[in-house]
Every structure is written in structure tokens, then in C-alpha cells.
């Protein structure tokens, strides 16, 4: 029944959001809330793990676009990792890889955040 879920993993100076299921106009508000909550806590180093995401529409893409300016103005970033080819294709179609850093593997992404080396892992 539950078709979308966000799992939050707090690291040293970084939070990973694992997004799971279908991200569309119906489920986008769930992700929006999760990111808003991080900003409220002044956590601006955010890695979004797409490994278990099976679908994204423009409503999902819009969530990232809606936060990226604020996050960067606070010296943070939203980075992404582990997209399936299907999901990456949608990002690519729109040129999003020019504005977001997208990594194949979670570990590579983690290493690029400041003051951070091993934050999540247990997968």
C-alpha cells in the first residue's frame, strides 16, 4: 500500500535520505517535508540515495529544484547517488546533471562532503 517512503540516516555532518518507491505528484510532499525538516534543523549537507527509487516524475524533480538555492546559500548541498538507469535518464533528459552532483556509489558521494568520511554505510 505504501508506495513511497523516506528513510533518514544521520551521519557526522551529513544526512542521507534514502528514497524508496514511486516519487510522483502524490508522494512528492512526503519528500518535501523530510527536506524541510532538515533545513529547520540547519542540516544542509544532504545526500539523497536513489537506490530503491523506482520512478520519478517532474513533480519529484521539482522538490529538489525547490530547495537547492536555499541549501546552497547556506553553504550546503543536495547531492545524489545510486540512480537506476531509468531514473538517471529522466534527469539527463532535462540537463539536471549540470546542476546536481550525481554519483554512482554512495561511498563516492559521501567522500565529497566536508568533514565527513563514513556517515552511513550499513547497507
Amino acid at each position: 500500500m505504501e508506495n513511497f517512503k523516506v528513510v533518514r540516516l544521520d551521519g557526522v555532518n551529513l544526512t542521507t535520505l534514502k528514497i524508496i518507491g514511486f516519487l510522483d505528484a502524490h508522494t512528492a510532499p512526503t519528500l518535501e517535508e523530510a527536506i524541510q525538516k532538515l533545513l529547520d534543523e540547519e542540516q544542509v549537507n544532504i545526500l539523497v540515495d536513489f537506490k530503491e527509487l523506482s520512478y520519478i516524475s517532474s513533480a519529484g524533480l521539482g522538490v529538489f529544484m525547490g530547495f537547492i538555492e536555499e541549501v546552497r546559500s547556506k553553504n550546503g548541498d543536495i547531492k545524489m547517488c545510486a540512480m537506476s538507469p531509468k531514473i538517471y535518464r529522466v534527469f539527463d533528459l532535462l540537463g539536471f546533471p549540470t546542476i546536481y552532483q550525481i554519483f554512482d556509489k554512495q561511498e563516492e558521494a559521501l567522500a565529497t562532503f566536508p568533514q565527513n568520511s563514513a556517515a552511513s554505510s550499513s547497507e
Binding site: G62, E69, L93
Partner: protein, 152 residues
């Protein structure tokens, strides 16, 4: 336009919670018809974008019967998706399509739905009759077909 050979129709309340059903329905039909996985994904996304627009923009609060229709027509060489609403309509010619370079430079939000539909499908056209029947018709040709089940 050649006569459609096979037709599927879905009438469903205009609520975002139904997007998943719509995608599955359209995706399964596209798969059955012989589209490769890649194209099935594009067709699913295009119908999602069209229906999301209906759910977000077509109906004012006061309209009671908020439904949308998704029709799929299959003929020998293509799949045609028709998404219909009975809402207020809009002028598609007035919708400026985003210049993606500008768009990305300015980190804009929204306004990607119709652009995506045009990118994903081979043909997209609107037929708007506000309050009566607004339709978007999208075509995908069956080339690189995985297997040609379309003959019927």
C-alpha cells in the same frame, strides 16, 4: 488517421493518489503491445505528466464531478494516448516552453510537464474546449519493437 484496432479506456477520479494505477495500466498495455522497456518508461512518464496537470490545474474547487479519462488506441504502428478532462481548459499556445539552459541557470521550479511530454513522445497536441472537454493526444511510434504483438 488509420482506424484504431484496439482500444483501452480508463475513467478515474482526478486525484493524485490514482497516478500509480494510471501508470500501471498504461505501462502494462504498452508492454503487451511490444514497446521496449525504455519506451514503456517514457510512455508511463508522459501519461503521468498529462494526468498530473489535470489533477493540479483542470478543476476549480467548486466542480463536483472531477474525473479524468485515459484512452489508449493501438493500431499497427503506434500507440496513441488521449487524456481528457472536463475542466476549465487553458491556451496551450500561450505556454512558453522552457529554454532548459536558462531554466537550469535560474534554478526554476515547475513548468516542466508539457516540455517532458513533448520530449518523451513523438507527437503531442491539445484540443481545448473549456468546460466541455479538454484533450491532449500523444503518439508513440512502435519502432525498435521488442516483439510485434500489435497485429490483431
Amino acid at each position: 488517421m488509420p482506424k484504431a484496432k484496439i482500444e483501452y479506456k480508463l475513467r478515474i477520479p482526478s486525484q493524485t493518489e490514482n497516478l500509480e494505477i494510471i501508470r500501471f495500466f498504461v505501462g502494462k498495455v504498452a508492454e503487451k503491445v511490444g514497446f521496449a522497456e525504455d519506451d514503456v518508461g517514457k510512455i508511463e512518464l508522459a501519461v503521468d505528466e498529462a494526468c498530473t496537470n489535470v489533477m493540479k490545474h483542470a478543476y476549480t474547487e467548486t466542480v463536483k464531478d472531477k474525473t479524468l479519462d485515459v484512452a489508449i488506441l493501438i493500431d499497427y504502428q503506434k500507440l496513441t494516448l488521449v487524456v481528457t478532462d472536463h475542466g476549465k481548459g487553458f491556451n496551450p499556445d500561450k505556454i512558453r516552453q522552457p529554454d532548459m539552459k536558462e531554466y537550469l541557470a535560474e534554478l526554476r521550479v515547475g513548468g516542466l510537464g508539457i516540455f517532458l511530454m513533448r520530449t518523451l513522445m513523438d507527437e503531442v497536441d491539445y484540443d481545448i474546449k473549456p468546460g466541455v472537454r479538454n484533450q491532449v493526444r500523444m503518439v508513440k511510434y512502435l519502432i525498435n519493437r521488442k516483439n510485434s504483438k500489435i497485429v490483431n
